[in-house]
Amino acid sequence: MANANTIIGSSITIDGEITGEEDLVIQGTVKGKVSLKESLFVESSGTVEADIQVAAVEISGQVTGNVVASDKVELKSDGRMVGDIKAPRVLIADGAMFKGHIDMER
């Protein structure tokens, strides 16, 4: 995460679509759609209300929407998510909150 290139700060709200080929750290609010070839980090102050398509995502904040990841989805202990997950690897830590459907089929 330290070498993430793009950071959306905690006072920022984005309504729309984010696409890219590098890591993205969200500390603020993003609504719409996120499509990355790399990793997405939703930090504890971050809120994402979007459909997400990434290689990997790490959630410590709040995500509402569906996530498709080519590698993995990781819900940290303070992460909260409502939506469906499709990824070969899904990790849910104790303390995380999740409601939705998971499909790990490769």
């Binding site: 409502v82 469906d84 990790l91 104790d94 939705g100």
Partner: protein
């Protein structure tokens, strides 16, 4: 005080009780116990399961309702739906189905509640806890969720493992309609894992 189902035992029917159950063998039917179910790597449970805690290192096909937690460890495989306030998926676990942890949109107090429960139970090997902390305000819960707290529950008909629509996921406040539309591909088709061959000798075990 614990029951162990050995790896050359097959139980077909309803199993209920008030002690821990460790499964090395195979169980088919329903499991309703007020303590912990431990499915060892060689264990296969094809059942509707109601427990306080479930720890899965083997195979579970069916739905699990737990009053405390469900944990799927590395090597564990499960197809079915989970209803529990705490659900832990470890890397290396395989899961397909729905997860309902109750009110995810909990305010911070609800979250703190979950944290407290999680922290309180981070004692490896601790005995099963049947009791649950006071429920969060009923108004904040989805109507479909059973609202009673601690319960060594009577058997409650659970939905079949799958296929299911994701429609019971309440769509989020800001309208991720796609969530309710179940964008996650085709519904899960539970196919019972082929049991390890060579030990199909069937013995019926009658619990005391």
């Amino acid at each position: 005080m614990a029951t162990v189902v050995g790896d050359r035992i097959f139980i077909n029917g309803n199993l209920q009780g008030d002690e821990d159950l460790t499964v090395h063998g195979r169980i088919k039917g329903t499991v309703n116990i007020s303590k912990s179910l431990i499915v060892e790597p060689s264990g296969i449970v094809e059942a509707e399961v109601q427990v306080a805690n479930a720890v899965v290192s083997g195979v579970v096909v069916g739905n699990i309702t737990a009053t405390d937690s469900v944990e799927i460890l590395k090597g564990g495989r499960m197809v079915g739906d989970i209803t529990a306030p705490r659900v832990i998926l470890t890397d290396g676990a395989l899961f397909r189905g729905g997860i309902d942890m109750g009110d995810v949109k909990a305010d911070d107090s609800g979250l703190a509640d979950a944290r407290a429960r999680a922290a309180a139970s981070r004692r490896p090997g601790a005995p099963a806890r049947v009791e649950r902390p006071a429920p969060r305000p009923a108004a904040a819960r989805p109507a479909t969720r059973p609202s009673s707290p601690a319960r060594p529950t009577p058997p409650r008909p659970a939905p079949p493992p799958a296929p299911r629509a994701a429609a019971d996921v309440p769509s989020a406040p800001t309208g991720m309609g796609a969530s309710a539309a179940g964008g996650g591909g085709p519904p899960a088709a539970p196919k019972p894992p082929s049991p390890p061959g060579g030990r199909r000798k069937k013995i019926l075990l009658k619990r005391r």
